[in-house]
Symmetry: C2
Subunit: 236 residues, 2 copies
């Protein structure tokens, strides 16, 4: 039942490095790195934060992927956001509306709001950095809304794949697909059965090739067209 374990020492980049890779000034990254915190390993599929919990913690992803989600009364789940390495979940007043769960096994750093907020106040440049990330998160949410509200199921899946490829490795033709079909369904507002259909179709039509869970795009331009994917919204 332990969703958290001690992390093994040599697994991945330090928070400092991931933040610098995400565009933060090294000196400011140091500040965050030295902030009191604990580091956790989170298993995929085990709830990490439940809705209703206090939001008095900062969470940074060091490796893996976190998701924010809500489960409807009828048990249908919607994932509303993903956080990749270098990204995080900022504290807020009140209690959480959304649960947090890892998509794949992830290492996260967890600090206290009362340690984090003074850093923001003391370092305007740091606050501007997170300000931009907040705006980016807002924009990504809006893009997902367009996806969910106005595109057919193929485009929805294709869009998620494009975005993920862009966020994970800056737009490679090869996507180390981290998602189960159920997770793709939870993100794109469908059922896993239909996601399966869609992926099979995309392969049959020669849009992608699959080896196990991995996906290769046969033609990025064609993928982008099918998905109406315009990556400008991902810029900070």
């Amino acid at each position: 039942m332990t969703s958290r374990r001690a992390r093994s020492a040599n697994e991945s980049a330090s928070l400092r490095e991931t933040l610098i890779a995400a565009g933060l000034d090294p000196q400011l990254a140091d500040l965050l790195d030295r902030m009191p915190h604990r580091t956790l390993d989170i298993d995929a599929r085990r709830p990490f934060r439940e809705p209703g919990a206090p939001r008095d913690e900062v969470i940074f992803v060091r490796s893996g992927i976190l998701s924010k989600f809500k489960t409807d009364t009828s048990g249908r789940r919607q994932i509303v956001a993903l956080r990749f390495p270098g990204e995080g979940i900022l504290p807020r007043r009140g209690i959480a509306q959304f649960g947090i769960q890892a998509i794949v096994r992830s290492e996260v750093m967890v600090g206290k709001a009362q340690d984090f907020e003074p850093l923001l106040d003391a370092n305007p440049e740091l606050r501007r950095f997170f300000w931009r990330l907040l705006q980016r998160n807002e924009a990504i949410g809006y893009e997902w809304l367009v996806n969910c509200g106005r595109r057919d199921s193929t485009a929805r899946v294709a869009h998620l794949l494009c975005e993920t490829a862009a966020r994970m490795h800056g737009g490679d033709e090869h996507l180390v697909n981290p998602f189960t079909q159920q997770q793709i369904a939870d993100i794109t507002g469908q059922t896993s059965v239909n996601v399966n259909r869609v992926l099979a179709d995309m392969e049959r039509q020669g849009l992608i090739r699959r080896k196990g869970r991995d996906i290769e795009f046969n033609d990025w331009n064609e993928m982008r067209r099918v998905a109406s994917f315009q990556p400008a919204y991902l810029e900070a």
Copy 2:
């Protein structure tokens, strides 16, 4: 439980008053009020900002309602966010991904990013105010995503009506409905034909009463239940 009652859509107030009503400290509201700006009237339905325009302006709503939207290649429109009086659209680097259009005739105040940002830097409390609004916008977007991805069309419409009633007049049983059925469709990711069906059904089932465009909730609790509406996400 009407703690802060916003003005109805066509009542005009100074920006200062609307911001104070939105929870901003009067002295800080003064700062914004004295910022160089122009005031505009925007007709409903006429595009105000097109996607691709620079985002170097701050926009505040004084009266009316603004929407952010994107139109798909096939001409289907998705509205991704609404801004009510006292709310605004903050500047960002780069160019706009979304267009802006008024839902009803609106008065807006438009200032320049280079006048606005120094105010934020000089007044930490002001920046924290907008920081919270950014987080609120993010949360509203996520709620819409759950709505769009996981609820049936009746719940989607009901949820929008609940949210609008809460944002416009702090949760009145009577909603001065500002939307055309087409706009409700654009917000909830449906067609206007279906919105019409849904509204007729809701009336037939005794959930609401309608006089022209106005809507009265026969039973708030029942509406909330149908919509799975939990207003906590609207708190700043």
